[in-house]
Symmetry: C2
Subunit: 378 residues, 2 copies
């Protein structure tokens, strides 16, 4: 496999596809501007479960099953799952994906986790480690408030700089671009084989278009993960966990500018640059920071946290946030536009604030991290 | 890159090396059987910090810096860092590795995280995504008791099936096997370049031995990560978080037997099969479960949790545990034996119990996960 490789970025020569995506959301998200675009909308945020945590796990499981089903793939055909959530010890993911019995890597990158999961899925697929990879993340307003702030029953007031955690889960099925014949023979035996399958060389040949059979049965056939820019931890020393937009904006700037430098691009090369959940406060800081580096992304920028809720009517203050925010916005709103070719190239940059109640109470700062995913219509 | 590929496993055709490893531990670990083998031994478990969490971060940072230093590599030369710990939202890792400024993937796999980090490091290096990858994990007795059980000041009694969380951090520098000339040119420019570097094809040629210059400056030159077996979540429905050995043993069995099937091997093909932290209770369950599958690993088995503490004198009940337990035992005790050739092939299987205080209090079961790393002397 041949790839252009900048300092933090990978450009895949044989870029994998996102062949299907699924979004599962709660009631407030359903009432928002994207309401009609989601796959599964709950009237009850408990999703039939007894606890917020169990509800979040249910969302993850449903999102995975739906993404797999849309592509008419069986869970046994998926080589590895990359997943995570915001809860301590990632229990929403552990309990959520358990039933699928896919070999899995648990991740934590705060609200940037959907980018982390997509990056690793694409890296694994492009490397020839399997035909299908599954990326999934989730967040839940009830479980997140309990985890990070106060139980809902306290009815605590929130500052205007605070975000509203999205109740939602997004899952994405990533498919390798090429299947050499030797690989196909091995894969056809499914998970039950005993190591005889040989993955062929993933050589630097022009990537084949997906065959017609795939196009007919999959939800998506023109969205490629062309490259990734893996983020560093960026810490400007901010300590206000109720102003996560400000904490994450420097990391978003760092990853966006690094993507430009690594790939020799500017904002002109993207139809949209879409951050995860900077919100209204974080966006204005991001614009300033990026301008300080000599770029102006104002005409190209969207933020999932500002897109998913209506500012005037939904009282969500700085905007939506959470591992699920960027994931369900990608699945429902962004991918269809890339699929149709309305947007030819998008830089998707989920952003995370790295903190816990313990680190906050001990006076530590809240560093940020952001991972960049280059999505292309091809 | 060509590789044999079973259902959950990858065998690398051009297996990456572990070129250096570092271990940092606390006072109790220093007094144990491996005490003389660790790199940095603290007299004070606070490591000069104000809190247990900060102490754990300090350990991670020191382990990373030492592993990098042993291989005479600069942090800028490391392409990606894979790291994790046991604390909520992985703050020991976020705060610990922040100063290194290496693009990073945060992981959570409970006490299996060292296996997860090594697997992803090896997969990334073997795929040609960079020359060096860094894997690091940690745990701390003080921070873990606070996170999962009771603050130390409560002096709570512990059942005999409970583990003692190891205070320690292990870091591992993984190096790709090959460097085509084009790659060398790109890498030489370091992180400051702007995307001109081209990673060449990672073709299926016989792997080169590390050159003399490397052998002279690196700590290790004969330890290869020959393959990995990525674990599934295995849940036998056990709910006792004070008996994690029993919760994790089924996952260890599953991964070990899957490794045998995927790679066409039995226990005879390994000099040692080494689990992370099953302890005395988990080991006997593992033996029974593996025997039920038609294998007998009793003569080949070691457990890091049983190796790191002395059962008679150290009062650690079921044995050591934690993300740091398997990591520091690997760095200090296992790798030197593989390097010397005393052990030609080892299956290293860190095991994790997937739970949080919230899932436990809500009555959820404690599923397990285990990742297998095949280490070979070459």
């Amino acid at each position: 496999m041949k790839q252009i490789s900048g300092s933090q970025s990978i450009v895949f020569q044989n870029a994998p596809y996102i062949v299907s995506a699924a979004s599962v959301v709660g009631a407030k998200e359903t009432q928002g501007p994207l309401g009609k675009l989601f796959d599964i909308c709950a009237e009850d945020n408990l999703f039939g479960a007894q606890t917020w945590e169990e509800a979040e796990s249910t969302m993850q499981k449903e999102a995975c099953i739906l993404a797999i089903g849309k592509a008419r793939v069986r869970a046994e055909e998926i080589r590895y799952l990359y997943g995570g959530d915001l809860l301590r010890q990632g229990i929403a993911t552990s309990m959520g994906v358990e039933a699928l019995q896919i070999p899995m890597f648990g991740l934590y990158g705060a609200c940037s986790t959907s980018g982390e999961a997509l990056a690793l899925s694409a890296m694994s697929a492009a490397a020839g480690y399997g035909k299908y990879m599954l990326a999934v993340t989730s967040s839940h307003f009830g479980s997140a408030e309990k985890e990070f702030r106060f139980p809902l029953g306290y009815a605590s007031q929130r500052p205007l700089s605070a975000h509203w955690t999205v109740t939602g889960s997004g899952a994405f099925l990533v498919k390798a671009a090429e299947e050499p014949d030797a690989d196909k023979a091995g894969e056809a035996e499914g998970r039950g084989n005993s190591g005889e399958g040989q993955l062929g060389e993933t050589a630097a040949e022009p990537a084949a278009e997906p065959d017609e059979g795939d196009a007919a049965t999959s939800q998506l056939s023109h969205v490629r993960i062309a490259g990734v820019t893996v983020g560093k931890i960026v810490d400007y020393g901010l300590k206000d966990s109720q102003n996560m937009g400000a904490c994450m904006a420097p990391a978003a700037m760092d990853t966006i500018v690094r993507n430009f430098l690594d790939m020799g691009r500017t904002e002109e090369d993207y139809d949209r640059i879409i951050t995860g959940d900077l919100g209204y406060v974080g966006q204005s800081i991001l614009f300033d920071l990026v301008r300080g580096q000599g770029y102006d992304i104002r005409k190209k920028h969207l933020d999932c946290g500002m897109t998913i809720f209506d500012r005037e009517t939904q009282d969500t203050h700085a905007g939506g946030s959470g591992c699920g925010c960027a994931a369900v916005t990608l699945a429902s709103f962004i991918l269809p536009k890339v699929e149709s070719g309305e947007w030819k190239r998008v830089l998707f940059v989920p952003t995370g604030a790295l903190m816990s109640t313990v680190s906050y109470n001990e006076g530590a700062s809240v560093p940020g991290i952001a991972h960049g995913i280059v999505l292309e219509h091809r």
